[in-house]
């Protein structure tokens, strides 16, 4: 396959810039696409070429396959990098690229089909011998059958309504004694809620961790894993902090999970970068959750401890090169990533789009800022609220936490509200510092993570605010030179304006 010379990056924000940086280092030209809301965005200026693709809503611009392909042709791009989100896991887009003779930097459509839909993926994984959360795929005809099944997989279990979701018809059952009454109430609740009393059973996982394995494959069937990422710090299934190595993994468990992840990827003839997500329970059993058939947001932590450039590897794999390594490198040191969101934690994490009036990013040793914004940029209203990913490296986890704290303390964003203070509280929380935090960590500790007020700092703030007000008043007095003499006679209207009025 020929070398890629020009890449269209079918994305926006930090990930578009991330991909373009590697392209630039590889001597590959880049093409940006932008919606009406992104004309002023940084990825437009970072690229060598840039084309408009439609109105702000992504379904009218970034998700319109024909527009993207049209730009690829017009600009002479020979490959498309989809980033994450948008068209990155869209098998029909992969087929359209193929038809247009443009290299899609990602897995083949068939692998996406096999992993795209959750129940299909689950079935495929069971077939391949990959452990999934134990449970019945079909509802039960009688209570007896159900009870036998529950005993077989072992308590605690979950009863789940086949017909719906949202917590309705769900019952956690601790032991055989509780089974009968739970069964009855689950069925009646399911009937009331969904008009369907079918109920199935899944194993209840205690304090699960979200641990994912990065996999990588070339076009010749060579498939390796690149160790894990611990992503249990989640809020509403949104990852907030990620790290590697996982503090709960032993080398043995890492090897075992890595092996299973490679098995999963091979089962679908995977090519390129992918991530196999697992739940790990309190007994350190692990179960397949889903596979993300693309680059992950949190790939920088893997890059820190392996020294690899995953985007460069993706491009090389798409060019038909063989994998440059045959097994996972032993993780070197520790890396933590925190996601900086334009949101206000104190107002229920309400999004906070708007204009960034001032921005200062952290520097110094082993700090990486993957940002998609700049001072003067108005964070648009239409897309993901993540404005940057800050990641750090250090020899040990404790040092990495200290470094992340230091870096966050240097991060200043003005004009919009961000979660920086929340991230600091998160990293300081004893449960996080301890390392064994599960997926309910953030929800359980919501109040503690809101932070406590230091009265000494509040007093300093009052002093500062008085000086601020004084300076403001002095400046106003200066801009209104005559106001000092004449007093408040003009009723707050500046004499400049007054003068102008008089002239009209």
């Amino acid at each position: 396959m020929p070398k890629i010379r020009k890449v269209l990056v079918a994305n926006r924000g930090e990930i578009a810039i991330r991909v373009m940086r590697t392209c630039k280092e590889l001597g590959i030209s880049t093409v940006a696409v932008y919606s009406e809301a992104d004309r002023s965005a940084l990825h437009v200026r970072t690229a060598d070429q840039a084309y408009f693709v439609g109105p702000p809503p992504s379904r009218e611009s970034y998700l319109v396959q024909e527009r993207i392909l049209e730009v690829a042709k017009k600009s002479g791009a020979d490959a498309i990098h989809p980033g994450y989100g948008f068209l990155s896991e869209n098998a029909s887009f992969v087929r359209a690229c193929e038809k247009a003779g443009i290299t899609f930097i990602g897995p083949p459509a068939s692998a996406m089909d096999a992993m795209g839909e959750k129940t299909r993926a689950r079935a495929n994984m069971i077939k391949a011998g990959v452990p999934v959360v134990p449970g019945s795929t079909e509802p039960f005809a009688t209570e007896g059958e159900a009870r036998d099944y529950a005993q077989k997989i072992g308590f605690p279990i979950m009863l789940k309504a086949a017909g719906g979701g949202g917590g309705k018809g769900m019952r956690r059952v601790e032991s055989l004694q509780e089974f009968e009454s739970a069964w009855r109430s689950a069925k009646s609740e399911a009937l009331n809620a969904f008009g369907n009393d079918a109920v199935y059973i899944e194993k209840y996982l205690e304090k699960p961790h979200h641990v994912e394995i990065q996999v990588f494959a070339d076009q010749y069937g060579n498939t390796i894993h690149l160790n894990e990422r611990e992503c249990s710090a989640q809020r509403r299934h949104q990852k907030v902090v990620e790290e590697t190595p996982s503090p709960i993994l032993t080398p043995e468990l890492r090897a075992k999970m890595g092996e299973v992840a490679v098995k999963a990827a091979k089962a679908v003839n995977y090519v390129g970068a992918g991530t196999v997500e697992f739940l790990v329970d309190v007994h350190r059993n692990f179960y397949f959750l889903e596979m993300n058939t693309r680059l992950q947001v949190e790939h920088p932590v893997t890059e820190w401890v392996t020294g690899l450039d995953l985007v460069a590897l993706q491009i090389r794999a798409a060019e038909g090169e063989k994998l440059p390594l045959l097994e996972a490198p032993t993780p070197n040191g520790h890396s933590i990533e925190v996601r900086v969101y334009a949101e206000d934690p104190s107002r229920n994490f309400m999004p906070s789009p708007g204009k960034i009036t001032y921005l200062r990013v952290p520097g110094g040793p082993n700090v990486r800022d993957d940002s998609g914004v700049f001072p003067g940029f108005t964070v648009p209203n239409f897309y993901d609220p993540m404005i940057s990913k800050l990641s750090v490296w250090a020899p040990t986890r404790a040092e990495a936490i200290a470094r992340a704290q230091r870096a966050l303390s240097e991060y200043v964003v003005k004009g919009i509200t961000t979660n920086i203070r929340y991230l600091k509280a998160l990293l300081a929380h004893p449960e996080f510092v301890g390392g064994d935090y599960d997926t309910s960590f953030l929800t359980r500790n919501h109040d503690a993570l809101m932070g406590v007020e230091d009265p000494r700092l509040s007093e300093v703030a009052l002093l500062a605010s008085a000086v601020y007000a004084y300076n403001r008043d002095q400046k106003r007095a200066k801009t209104l030179p005559s106001a000092q003499g004449s007093g408040a006679g003009t009723g707050g209207v500046s004499p400049w304006r007054q003068a102008l009025r008089n002239r009209r």
């Binding site: 999004p351 700092l457 300093v460 703030a461 002093l463 008085a466 007000a469």
Partner: protein, 169 residues
């Protein structure tokens, strides 16, 4: 010069006495304590403040009458005014906490749902309007029990930050 500093969420304003000593130096008195402060204002609303050798990098952000003060990772929202302004502000405060309440858009976004109509009786905490921004829906709730007297929000329309949505009385 006396300033009144009211922290968000606190009822009472704390007076701070300021005397300018020139060259960015001030004598400041708060809570009965007096400090010699070297406070150098930099660009972009940054200030370097030295208090008894302690160094504070302060970031200010003005937001209406309030100024957000960031010091060592802590944000304090302060409403600071001199006596004249304090009086003025009291006079023009159209919507007091007890009387009618104006609910405004907390961010630019799109009104995706209006849950009430004019004349509806609402409970405290009841949802009034759902605004979407950055792919997330946010339900705005009534701050008090009362009656919807005005309704500006329209489903499907875009709204700016601080746009008027509903009045509950």
């Amino acid at each position: 010069m006396r300033y009144f500093t009211k922290q968000q969420g606190q009822k009472e304003a704390v007076p701070v006495d300021l005397e300018s000593l020139g060259n960015d130096r001030y004598r400041l008195t708060v809570n009965g304590k007096t400090f010699q402060v070297d406070a150098l204002a930099l660009e972009h609303g940054t200030m370097s403040m030295l208090v008894d050798g302690q160094s504070y990098s302060v970031e200010f952000e003005e937001n209406g009458d309030e100024v957000g003060v960031l010091v060592r990772g802590q944000v304090t929202r302060v409403d600071v005014a001199d006596e004249r302004r304090l009086r003025l502000r009291a006079a023009t405060a159209g919507f007091s906490v007890e009387g009618k309440q104006l609910i405004t858009a907390p961010m630019p976004g799109k009104v995706v749902k209006v849950l009430v109509k004019v004349g509806d009786e609402v409970k405290e905490g009841q949802g009034l309007v759902v605004v979407e921004a950055m792919k997330m829906e946010n339900e705005l709730k009534s701050p008090k029990a009362g009656k919807v007297t005005e309704l500006f929000a329209k489903e499907g329309t875009a709204v700016e930050n601080n746009a008027k949505l509903v009045v509950v009385e």
